[in-house]
Amino acid sequence: MAEVEETLKRIQSQNGVQGIIIVNTEGIPIKTTLDNASTVQYAGLIHQLVMKARSTVRDIDPQNDLTFLRVRSKKNEIMIAPDKDYFLIVIQNPSD
């Protein structure tokens, strides 16, 4: 439990990280550092995206699986680490 907190704090302290959301497979945000409205929006939309990406990868090669997903946009980068039961979503503003 404490390790989880520590990990999240470490991630939060990195440069440029704007927010962290943890979502379970049903799309329910478990933990978040953003406000509720954005969280709900991110959780819903990204959940669908990850499902699609995962099914795409597995369709091409059934032995393959999705390990990480990065969506880079003009303003920031959304990084999604999927797992069997949960996703970890981090929104970062890449410094350059």
Binding site: M1, E3, V4, T7, L8, R10, I11, Q14, N15, G16, V17, I22, V23, N24, E26, G27, I28, P29, I30, K31, V40, A43, G44, L45, H47, Q48, T67, F68, R70, R72, E77, M79, A81, D83, K84, D85, Y86, F87, L88, V90, Q92, P94, S95, D96
Partner: protein, 579 residues
């Protein structure tokens, strides 16, 4: 959950049960080696055998069945909370979350995910992994890929009885295509043929976006370039109809039958005017009529295409195509069924002066006529089996033309982005793309679009999308490769030089012809004065043939004599030793 496939079959259905038993080995066949057979073969030593250790691959293309899809949006509000928890209740949701956080698997998975995530975050912070190197470098000249075009969509006539797509028109913004359907073959239209024409959205080939219901099948259809909601169409019975897409499928107004054309209206064009409501139409009954779409009860102006300038309808030429360029608002060109292109001036004082001049070019109807958007003095005509490019100043002949093709050309148009590229469609279903700066004898790209004849062609304003309509009602949308649809640096100047050169050549030829004619005339006049009985200038064809025969015999005789003479010296020189 594992997906398992289970086969079940009744034991009794397998047939008689087989009972296996052991048996000692039995020699059935024994083939000893026969050294005598080796004499039929020659031993080859060493042998050279090439091998390649790689996987055998085969390429296979599959086309799936047509899949109709529909897009719709989904609104996501709040995640999939379990049934017993009310998402509005803060307490319940918090309690649920706390429960999840205590879960063992949550902790484990989060630790792994956390480390993966940290790695990527650090990566982002260290270096911009998507940095664009060599940003300022000039765009590398693309390696010249062979020109190609690929079909994007086919819009088929949803009716049972298939009609020809006689005209296509793009929406000014480009997302929609209006197609006019009619049966152009004489008296071939059946009673149950639908009269409708459609507007298609290019994203959805399954269903037309809007149906236009005229009183008679439409032969031509044009979007108003100024107002993208209005269209005007010319019908098979000679009427003109005006639609507003906001008002539905019925025409807002149709011209009265007595005042309209007596034959199908083959082409209708919107004019540039202050009110934006002027159109003019042409038909094979020999008239060109001007209309104001607000009042279609009668045309505002009328012109009869009679070359003798008398306004005689009986001797008028039937118009099949029309051309109007907004940079030259008073002049327009009409292509006729007789193969003559007539240039007219709208603002002439008397009707007789309206017809300025005519260009006699084709053996058959001039099906398409268009000025080059970059060089308005040159226009392209298509008719019989050739496509010809004309310069306005040269009346006698075209300045450039293609060789006679194997099938009839039905429509053509210039590319709106590249001045040297034009497209033609033929009756064998082939779309040709010609680039006269690249190759003049053959089309640069020739594509078989469909098995039936292609009747109409239209390019979208961006130059990349081409729509062509076939006889069976299928409108095919193709995308042209970027090589043929992007303007190259020297295109305009090179093409200007080419047109000038060809025009000059024709001018020189014309001048020469005139000289020869003058000389002949003066010579014949002189000889007639001198010897009144002699018909020098008038050689009958028989006399010419006789003269040609005589010349032929004389020449062959001379040749034979020369050859005999050549044969003699070598035999004499045989015994001379040449060192």
């Amino acid at each position: 959950m594992e997906i398992v496939h289970v086969y079940t079959r009744l034991r009794g259905e397998f047939g008689r049960q087989c009972l296996f038993s052991d048996r000692p080995a039995e020699l059935l066949v024994d083939v000893p080696p026969d050294p005598r057979l080796a004499q039929d073969f020659i031993q080859k030593n060493p042998r050279d055998q090439a091998l390649q250790a790689c996987r055998d691959m085969s390429e296979h293309q599959v086309n799936t069945e047509r899949f109709e899809s529909d897009s719709c949006g989904i609104n996501h509000v709040e995640g999939g909370w379990p049934k017993d928890i009310n998402p509005q209740e803060m307490e319940q949701t918090i309690r649920y979350r706390k429960k999840v956080e205590k879960d063992e698997s949550y902790v484990n998975s989060l630790l792994t995910l956390g480390s993966v995530m940290e790695h990527c975050i650090r990566q982002n912070n260290a270096v911009d992994i998507y940095q664009e190197y060599f940003e300022d470098e000039d765009e590398v000249e693309e390696s010249p890929e062979p020109p190609s075009a690929k079909t994007i969509n086919v819009f088929r006539d949803p009716n049972e009885v298939k009609r020809t797509v006689s005209c296509l028109s793009w929406h000014p913004d480009g997302g929609k295509l209006a197609a006019a359907y009619s049966c152009l073959q004489f008296q071939r239209s059946s009673r149950d043929m639908s009269l409708d024409s459609y507007i298609w959205d290019i994203e959805n080939p399954n269903r037309p976006e809007l149906t236009l219901k005229p009183a008679s099948p439409l032969v031509c259809l044009e979007y108003n370039p100024k107002d993208s909601h209005t269209l005007v169409g010319g019908a098979y019975n000679g009427q003109i109809a005006y639609w507003d897409t906001r008002r539905g499928s019925q025409p807002v107004e149709t011209s009265s039958v007595e005042q309209s054309h007596r034959d199908p209206v083959y082409k209708i064009i919107w004019l540039q005017s202050k009110t934006g409501t002027d159109v003019f139409s042409a038909s094979t009954d020999g008239q060109v009529l001007w209309w104001d779409v607000r009042r279609l009860s009668e045309p505002t102006e009328r012109l009869v295409l009679d070359l003798s300038r008398e306004g005689n309808l009986d001797r008028a030429l039937g118009a099949v195509s029309l051309e109007f360029e907004s940079t030259m608002p008073t002049k327009f060109l009409v292509g006729t069924e007789q193969g003559v292109v007539v240039s007219c001036n709208r603002k002439a004082k008397t009707p007789a002066e309206k017809i300025v001049c005519s260009y006699d070019g084709h053996h058959g109807p001039v099906y398409a006529l268009q000025r080059n958007p970059f060089f308005p003095k040159n226009f392209l005509t298509v008719g019989d089996w050739t496509a010809r490019i004309w310069s306005e100043d040269i009346r006698d002949s075209a300045i450039m033309w293609t060789k006679y093709q194997t099938s009839y050309l039905m429509d053509a148009c210039w590319s709106p982005v590249r001045p040297s590229v034009f497209f033609t469609v033929k009756m064998d279903g082939v779309l040709d793309v010609w680039d006269i700066l690249f190759k003049q004898n053959d089309p640069t790209l020739s594509l078989k679009v469909c098995d039936e004849a292609l009747y109409s062609l239209r390019l979208q304003d961006n130059g990349r999308l081409v729509a062509c309509g076939s006889q069976q009602g299928g409108a095919t949308l193709l995308e042209i490769s970027s090589g043929l649809s992007t303007l190259q640096k020297n295109d305009k100047s090179l093409l200007a030089a080419m047109f000038e050169r060809e025009t000059k050549r024709e001018k020189v030829l014309e001048a020469r012809q005139r000289e020869i004619r003058l000389k002949e005339r003066s010579r014949s006049e002189q000889s007639r004065e001198g010897e009144p009985g002699r018909e020098d200038a008038d050689h009958g064809p028989d006399q010419l043939i006789a003269k040609a025969q005589e010349d032929f015999y004389v020449v062959t005789e001379m040749e034979r004599r020369r050859r005999d003479a050549n044969q003699q010296p070598p035999t004499e020189l045989e015994d001379v030793d040449v060192t």
